[in-house]
Symmetry: D3
Amino acid sequence: MSTTTSPHPAPAERASERPAAERREPVYLFSEKNVSEKSEIARRFLDSRERLNANVDKANNFLVKRFYNIDHHAYLEGTLPAKTKELMGLVASACLRCDDCIFYHAIQAYRLGVTRAEQEESLNVALIVAGSILIPHLRRAYELLQEMYG
Amino acid sequence: MSTTTSPHPAPAERASERPAAERREPVYLFSEKNVSEKSEIARRFLDSRERLNANVDKANNFLVKRFYNIDHHAYLEGTLPAKTKELMGLVASACLRCDDCIFYHAIQAYRLGVTRAEQEESLNVALIVAGSILIPHLRRAYELLQEMYG
Amino acid sequence: MSTTTSPHPAPAERASERPAAERREPVYLFSEKNVSEKSEIARRFLDSRERLNANVDKANNFLVKRFYNIDHHAYLEGTLPAKTKELMGLVASACLRCDDCIFYHAIQAYRLGVTRAEQEESLNVALIVAGSILIPHLRRAYELLQEMYG
Amino acid sequence: MSTTTSPHPAPAERASERPAAERREPVYLFSEKNVSEKSEIARRFLDSRERLNANVDKANNFLVKRFYNIDHHAYLEGTLPAKTKELMGLVASACLRCDDCIFYHAIQAYRLGVTRAEQEESLNVALIVAGSILIPHLRRAYELLQEMYG
Amino acid sequence: MSTTTSPHPAPAERASERPAAERREPVYLFSEKNVSEKSEIARRFLDSRERLNANVDKANNFLVKRFYNIDHHAYLEGTLPAKTKELMGLVASACLRCDDCIFYHAIQAYRLGVTRAEQEESLNVALIVAGSILIPHLRRAYELLQEMYG
Amino acid sequence: MSTTTSPHPAPAERASERPAAERREPVYLFSEKNVSEKSEIARRFLDSRERLNANVDKANNFLVKRFYNIDHHAYLEGTLPAKTKELMGLVASACLRCDDCIFYHAIQAYRLGVTRAEQEESLNVALIVAGSILIPHLRRAYELLQEMYG
């Protein structure tokens, strides 16, 4: 394919993505520990996630590590604020109906200072797009929101 | 269930969603016609959508009409800007892999003044969440972006 | 809602859907309490659902409430009997693989007098359409059927 | 197949499914040819399906043939009428968003004498369960319904 | 359709699938009991699966039995080794995000002598294809792998 | 990429994945051009893919490029042969029902010397796991197989 032989486009053509140097870690208003103190659901999720991730880390799988790395990059401050991208992660997780993923992004959004109303409005987009099959996940998400913001 | 017998909560309790009066139609910088003039892909999609929707309208199905109505509400200016919610619709559509839906939200976002970089960064969230199965849809989305922003 | 106060299309145009007045609540042979007494799985599901729905209700989210409202309408007696539509809800839930949704529609169908053989035949359509990935859900559905009908 | 030569379980044990002898082919009011004459969309779909199936047939794959066989059985007259099961196939196909499958079951339902209102009400269940991501498929389904029933 | 009236193709044309006689049960290096002794996760899964399957068996549903039968055939030694097909079952289960199905195929693969590295590389294909939404399932899969191979 | 300059974990820790140096490009028996000459379906797909990828390439999106990079790595010769992983990619693509992805992996597998019988047996795993909703994709896949191997 010609794509591998052609020289890389000049920086001026990079219309769509800031170079790595311009992406940066978001500033969290709350730590995971803060969230765990407010919400028992968050605490159980974060503890289980940490324990299971330690096991994945130990396996030291090359491709998994690369994947985790670009996954991390996708939610950094960039052209769009980290807040917005965490809420997009929430919408995506709700549409694909993964409770753990919904919890993760709802917690991240909370840590970045997203309001409950913003979380609910994001979940509404998911509910309309993906339908009533979401409702059991919505109920569990609202329980977490209640604990975090209540 | 108790929910049907209890009185409705007072407005003060409405923490999560603006009352209908506070939601409003977004202001579009470009009309559908503008987009059709810039992009042949957009034009074909919008024409086909209009033709087929006319047929659905004619059927006058009560529940379909109600559904279209709340679908419309989900993307109004609200707690979150319409721009953000159109991009969330784009992420959701990409994760659930519907070309027509991707085209629709990418066009709406364009009409609201969203930049190409913002569209790409939104698609990146979807790509990470939903994986390489998205790539054929990504390619078609980039073709549309190229025509609209090129 | 504005849709109910605006002038309705003339009856002659309503080829596809009975007007709201012709849709009506189904008659249940059994209450949720009856089902809970027969099945421990049903009891746990219904209790958890009630508790979590109370929380969603308290949030009083405008769009969620609208969505719940048309969701309710979709299963009323209409052109098709409520029984048939609850079984369609069961098929849809099984195809999209949501245990809570499967339990909900299997319980609703039971309450309307649907036989176990009808429930199994509906699940068979889902099994063929959506494949062996359904089998864990099928096993859990059969456990519920066994408790309700056994 | 070994399952047909081995001793069958006694009828008393068959709580949930009629023995094969009690299932029977449905009676179609219309042939595929009739539908093709009414609808250009149906004609193109049925022609393409026949051509491609001939190719699959020629491959004579053992497991594919077995699968087609039980797929055929799932929609026979049984405990539930064939009509109902074709509409369930329609709901399942819409929820899993496969245009060809939607067309197939909508045509089969039409051939069995299902009304347009019944088809629309079935699609409504799918729309509520699976959300707005269905809308492009709904539009195409309504175009087919219009041609078949119009 | 002409396919039902035309004579079956001659055996010489059966390019794609060995006749039933050439497919055979795989040889397992380990029994389910062996796996249960090594892994508590496997034990709980296998016990629950056995208990629930007994219930499905008792129902004696004709179509479910047929489906289980061809499901069994799909993983026999054939043109491809049973090992490879169990790993394909693992990839499919991971892509469709069913923990029970992932556990089942990971255990089957283990019983056939598949190494941990082969299981991880298979899961990597699924991770790339289906994205980060898989990560919670990946974590749980790695916990099982750790117990079985650790 | 920063990941290649940072100190790598010691080989002893790499339980699950060969270090990058041990992964290598597979040897193709046939070029894309060879396949395009045998199959019109392959030719159209490959041409369209090349044209659209050139457009994605031009956008030079940082994260898309990273993603394409690890996507490429996932199918290299590794612990499992590239052949097997292309067939796993085929199974994954069929389960997630993406025609372009099915075509891509079927063509890659063909180029690596996979037989038609092996391709069909892989598709059978997908058919059982993901059900009849796959059938339209199966038909189109068989058409491609017929052209490539016929």
